[in-house]
């Protein structure tokens, strides 16, 4: 029994898991926040989807004998259409891709065999090599080959030199359009010489629509999520109630290594400086640092304090990805933070809240409380200690990621409420 908003999802999910005729029934939506009386009215009322009395439908579902269809066994293939569309005009192909949910509703480069072959020259891997599995949310994971990724890279507008980065991202299996009622955001940080080889932008306008590699690699991740992971179908494999604008191109950050005195992010994760690496994040959003309590102070701006101040506005269900302009980093180094680790440690120690505020947060109850019950630390302690105890926002300093990007027109920083997931070598896909 689910709520009305999940009707399509419930039926399609049941089908995908092998029970297409499951007798699901629905109550009005939502249940959360309704009083006992309002919920009794749900029980005594009708199923808003079928129009029949809810309880009668439940009892029938448990007692009406099964049909032949209900007891079928065996395997059922899922059809994704022909390997090739056309021949047809460019306009008709553009319309076909658009009308069949294979795009982000913006124009694509039509993936002709010539263009896909040109893209495949960007890697040494064989076109038929299966490189990953991807599932949008709790659905069956689809598999995909180098060539299938290449089709999506062409559509996004990538050049063949970008293909190893797209392959590295696709090989992670991390869907860019995960399905949850929360509208998630996704980010990738790129390190190593490839940033300059591809002419990525990590200075003025770094995260904006100003550089082809940044834009099209980010966009390819969304198209891969849609076409290779069957994600992004509103009401079915995408349930984000309001949607997230960053899903168009995702938050692509090439670290500004040359203007940064700190170790690059991939070296922190154990890679050598000359290796090309892409690191993936997922979470809520990205906000600017202007709301910090000492933002814009002229003398001695104390950016450590400002960053910590913004942290208290995040949800600790996700970690923090801080993107500092080199000017901000220069001030932080002058304050004594000559390494990222020193600042991560200070931020972790000095961003605290009471155990009561922690337990009050909705997300924490849904995701951390069950882990606390199983005795998993630090959640068990955070749920047992007295309400007034000051506890850190995150379990450890590593939950805070510092990355440098910006063109030094002003000492700014932005904070993503985003969790580090995985780093993948790009060189492996050259």
């Amino acid at each position: 029994m689910a709520t009305k908003s999940f009707a399509d999802l419930a039926k399609s999910n049941a089908s995908k898991r092998g029970m297409p005729h499951i007798r699901a029934c629905f109550t009005p939506h939502p249940v959360w926040g309704k009083t006992a009386e309002q919920l009794m009215a749900y029980v005594e009322g009708d199923d808003p989807v079928s129009g029949k009395p809810l309880m009668k439908e439940i009892i029938d579902g448990l007692t009406v004998p099964l049909t032949a269809e209900d007891t079928k066994t065996g395997m059922m293939d899922v059809n994704v259409g022909p390997p090739v569309f056309g021949p047809d005009t460019l306009d008709n192909l553009q319309t076909h891709f658009l009308n069949n949910g294979m795009t982000d509703f913006l124009p694509v480069i039509i993936p002709t065999p010539e263009k896909v072959d040109a893209m495949l020259k960007g890697t040494s891997h064989h076109p038929d090599e299966v490189i990953g599995k991807m599932a949008a949310g709790a659905f069956a994971a689809w598999t995909y080959t180098v060539k299938q990724v290449a089709v999506n890279a062409v559509m996004a507008g990538c050049e063949p030199e970008y293909f190893p980065v797209v392959l590295a991202v696709a090989s992670s299996g991390m869907a860019a359009l995960g399905s949850s009622t929360t509208s998630f955001a996704y980010s990738m940080v790129i390190n190593g010489p490839i940033r300059d080889k591809l002419n990525m932008n990590y200075t003025i306008g770094a995260m904006g629509p100003f550089a082809q590699p940044n834009a099209t690699i980010g966009r390819a991740w969304t198209l891969v999520g849609k076409n290779l992971g069957n994600g992004g179908i509103p009401g079915d494999t995408y349930m984000g109630s309001q949607g997230n604008n960053t899903n168009y191109n995702n938050i692509v950050i090439a670290e500004n290594e040359k203007d940064s005195p700190w170790t690059p992010f991939h070296v922190q994760k154990g890679f050598r400086p000359e290796e090309n690496v892409v690191s993936l994040f997922s979470g809520e959003d990205i906000r600017q640092g202007h709301g910090a309590r000492r933002a814009g102070v002229l003398e001695n701006p104390m950016f450590d304090d400002q960053i910590s101040d913004i942290f208290r506005t995040l949800t600790s269900q996700f970690d923090a990805l801080v993107i500092c302009d080199p000017l901000t980093v220069r001030r932080l180094v002058e304050q004594g933070y000559d390494t990222k680790e020193k600042l991560m440690e200070w931020l972790w120690k000095n961003t605290q809240r009471t155990a009561k505020d922690y337990r009050d947060s909705a997300f924490v109850y849904t995701f951390h409380y069950p882990r606390a019950l199983r005795g998993e630390e630090p959640y068990a302690t955070w749920y047992k200690c007295p309400e007034g105890t000051l506890i850190p926002y995150w379990p450890k300093p590593d939950n805070i990621v510092l990355v440098v990007a910006g063109g030094q027109t002003n000492p700014f920083f932005q904070v993503g409420n985003l969790t580090y997931r995985v780093s993948v070598s790009i060189d492996k896909w050259m």
Partner: protein, 428 residues
């Protein structure tokens, strides 16, 4: 002024200074540069700038300044008359692939694939409006006062609309956007962003998405109207050139497609946004917002485990990351709008009044902020460090719009202020 002047600019603004001088009629101005920044440097460090070299011309800075005030002018430096910067040929002819490359290489796109704007496609787009192709729609500049405003015609808007992937029945909305002259790529060292809320029957006529995934990449009108705005902000006013007409130090991902928000009027308990602004319900209207960023509204407390979530408390708490330079634009899922009704907030004004009074800051926390929003003049009398005051003095800093597919009672919150509403019907 008729008196020789020697401008000194920090090196980060080199391109901007040169092109700005050129655009204002003095392309050969003798500019000197210091290392960047000056802000926050000690007196000794600054004196070292003077003793050192101009990092661009590699000659001693002070010697250069004195020289630029005394070395006689060249002929070019005293020229008068006018010059019109060219914008290239009216059309370009090549294969589809080469044109795609040409538009990209010459900074006419957002670096992503476009629909090649052929005459046929532009003529088809022009059928979306009754206005003549050569009618001047308005003026636009990447930043008021900093750059001269360009003008543009219906046809030039149509070219950008085709490139974005829009269809002719989206064109009136795109023209309405252009007519405001608001650039989506506003140039400031801050990386600012724009939003546009759409009201009226046109939302359903164009099958816009105001349900599940409304602000994500799941709908053609939402996506292409927003993208057209960015393309127009590049091409119609020479904007979006990093280091010259776009100075955002880190850039902002929202600039790709901007926040195009069709309001979910049918599931909302309140009058639509445009009716609040004095338009009739059946009018098609687009309202503009401008600011720093948008958050998922999950950080604040108040959405706790209590049986009935305190939406108003959560909304107020979620304002904490924002500076008061811009206001708070709440994008409420219908579940939250209706949930507020259950909590006794029957009208938008009742919510806004509660928020304005209860979203507070302590004076000592904000007084050192550049954008502190502290009241000046009489209201500031009697304020001490520990006084608790509203974060925003006036309730028009708060705007509420309903959008979402009711899969969860969430709200998103943009640190943005309302600017203007314009009619779309005018451009049909």
């Amino acid at each position: 002024m008729g008196i020789p002047a020697a401008p000194i600019v920090t090196i980060a603004f080199k391109d901007l200074a040169q092109t700005n001088c050129a655009k204002r009629g003095m392309p050969l101005q003798r500019i000197s540069y210091t290392p960047h920044p000056v802000w926050g440097k000690t007196d000794e460090q600054m004196y070292a700038y003077l003793d050192g070299n101009d990092p661009v011309h590699n000659i001693p800075l002070m010697k250069e300044i004195v020289d630029s005030l005394t070395r006689p002018l060249t002929a070019d430096e005293s020229k008068t008359g006018t010059v019109t910067p060219p914008v290239g040929a009216p059309s370009f002819t090549d294969t589809a692939d080469n044109l795609q490359q040409y538009f990209l290489d010459n900074g006419m796109t957002d670096t992503m694939p476009i629909i090649i704007p052929t005459q046929e496609k532009v003529d088809a787009m022009l059928k979306g409006t009754s206005h003549k192709p050569d009618e001047v729609v308005g003026k636009m500049t990447p930043a008021q006062g900093a750059f001269p405003a360009w003008s543009f015609t219906v046809q030039q808007c149509a070219v950008n609309a085709v490139m974005a992937g829009a269809t002719p029945d989206y064109f009136p909305t795109i023209l309405a956007i252009a007519s405001t002259g608001i650039s989506a790529l506003f140039s400031s060292t801050n990386s600012l962003v724009s939003a546009a809320v759409i009201n009226g029957p046109i939302r359903d006529k164009l099958a816009m998405n105001y349900g599940i995934g409304a602000m994500g990449p799941f709908n053609q009108p939402n996506a292409t109207i927003g993208r057209a705005w960015t393309l127009m902000s590049r091409n119609l006013d020479g904007g979006g050139i990093c280091g010259e007409t776009y100075m955002g130090s880190q850039g902002n991902v929202i600039n790709y497609s901007n926040l195009i928000i069709p309001e979910n009027e049918k599931d909302s308990p309140w009058p639509p946004f445009h009716v609040q602004k004095g338009f009739k319900p059946e009018e098609n209207v687009i309202s503009f917002f401008f600011g720093f960023c948008i958050t998922q509204g999950q950080g604040g407390k108040g959405l706790g485990v209590k049986p009935v979530p305190l939406y108003n408390v959560a909304m107020s708490a979620n304002c904490s990351p924002f500076a008061s330079l811009f206001g708070a634009l709440f994008l409420l899922d219908p579940l939250v709008a209706n949930g507020l009704g259950d909590l006794g907030f029957k009208t938008k004004d009742s919510v806004v009044d509660w928020l304005q009074k209860n979203t507070t800051v302590v004076v000592k926390d904000v007084k050192s902020m550049l954008f502190s929003g502290l009241p000046r003049g009489p209201e500031a009398a009697g304020l001490t460090d520990d006084s608790v005051i509203p974060k925003w003095q006036k309730s028009d800093a708060f705007n509420l719009v309903v959008v979402g597919g009711q899969t969860n009672p969430y709200h998103q919150l943009a640190n943005m202020s309302y600017r203007v509403s314009v009619s779309i019907d005018k451009w049909i």
